[in-house]
């Protein structure tokens, strides 16, 4: 159940995520080599506008991207359609956005708890 707009949104978000994913993986590899601690991660990311924007845009993109992707799967395999499908799409998008937003804030907002 895709029209041109949803399709473009899914492709564009995918293209945005591609470099971000590569970056994220690279960071992970680097981080993993020393063994991970919470402090290490947070020390690097907290208070950094760069990482906020980095992960922020990732979360934004992935919420839309995954919501559209799951929408297609829901329609094709469970036969969901109409308002139910629309509600599910938005629900997934908001859930991911909310949880992802919380995570980004946790990881990049200075000060923390």
């Amino acid at each position: 159940m895709l029209d041109l707009r949803l399709y473009m949104l899914q492709r564009i978000t995918a293209l945005i995520m591609a470099p971000l994913t590569l970056g994220h993986i690279a960071v992970m590899i680097y981080a993993v080599q020393g063994g991970l601690t919470a402090e290490e991660i947070l020390g690097r990311t907290q208070g950094s506008i760069f990482w906020f924007l980095f992960y922020g845009s990732f979360v934004l993109a992935v919420s839309l991207h995954a919501a559209i992707g799951l929408r297609v799967i829901l329609h094709e395999t469970l036969g969901l359609g109409g308002w139910a499908l629309r509600a599910a799409t938005w629900g997934i998008a908001f859930l991911l956005l909310a949880m992802g937003g919380q995570a980004v804030i946790a990881v990049t907002w200075s000060g923390g708890a």
Binding site: R11, A14, L15, M17, A18, T21, L22, I25, M28, I29, V32, Q33, G35, L36, T37, A38, E39, I41, L42, V59, V62, A66, G69, L70, I73, I92, L95, L96, M99, G100, Q102, A103, I105, A106, V107, W109, G112, A113
Partner: protein
């Protein structure tokens, strides 16, 4: 009734769908773990040391692998759709992408 599907493009589609679905299911979990940093950093730490376990490493590798597969699969798809390539070039691209996925997978396996 199912038509036979054991052809490469259909398998690529399934891999893409399964990896996408798996990532989408994992993502909330991942977000939840990270947001622990906000509320309970010590639990995050415990979690992170748990990731030292081989099983967890394997799972982690799986996730990274899924992400790589999905990403390369998606890029392959977008290339196939948007670049006016001829059929042999497409096959080539598909091949290159699977090689890339394999290499990156192996690489991650090394690191993790």
């Amino acid at each position: 009734m199912r038509p036979a599907r054991a052809h490469p493009l259909w398998l690529a589609f399934v891999l893409h769908r399964v990896s996408g679905l798996a990532l989408a299911l994992f993502l909330p979990l991942h977000f939840w773990v990270l947001s622990l940093a906000l509320t309970q950093p010590e639990r995050l730490n415990r979690f992170l040391s748990f990731t030292e376990q081989p099983i967890a490493k394997l799972a982690e590798f799986g996730l990274v692998f899924l992400l790589a597969v999905h990403m390369f699969g998606g890029l392959r798809l977008i290339a196939l759709e948007w670049l006016p390539w001829s059929a042999p070039q497409k096959t080539l691209a598909a091949g290159a992408v699977s090689v890339a996925a394999l290499i990156s997978g192996a690489f991650f396996l090394q690191v993790v």
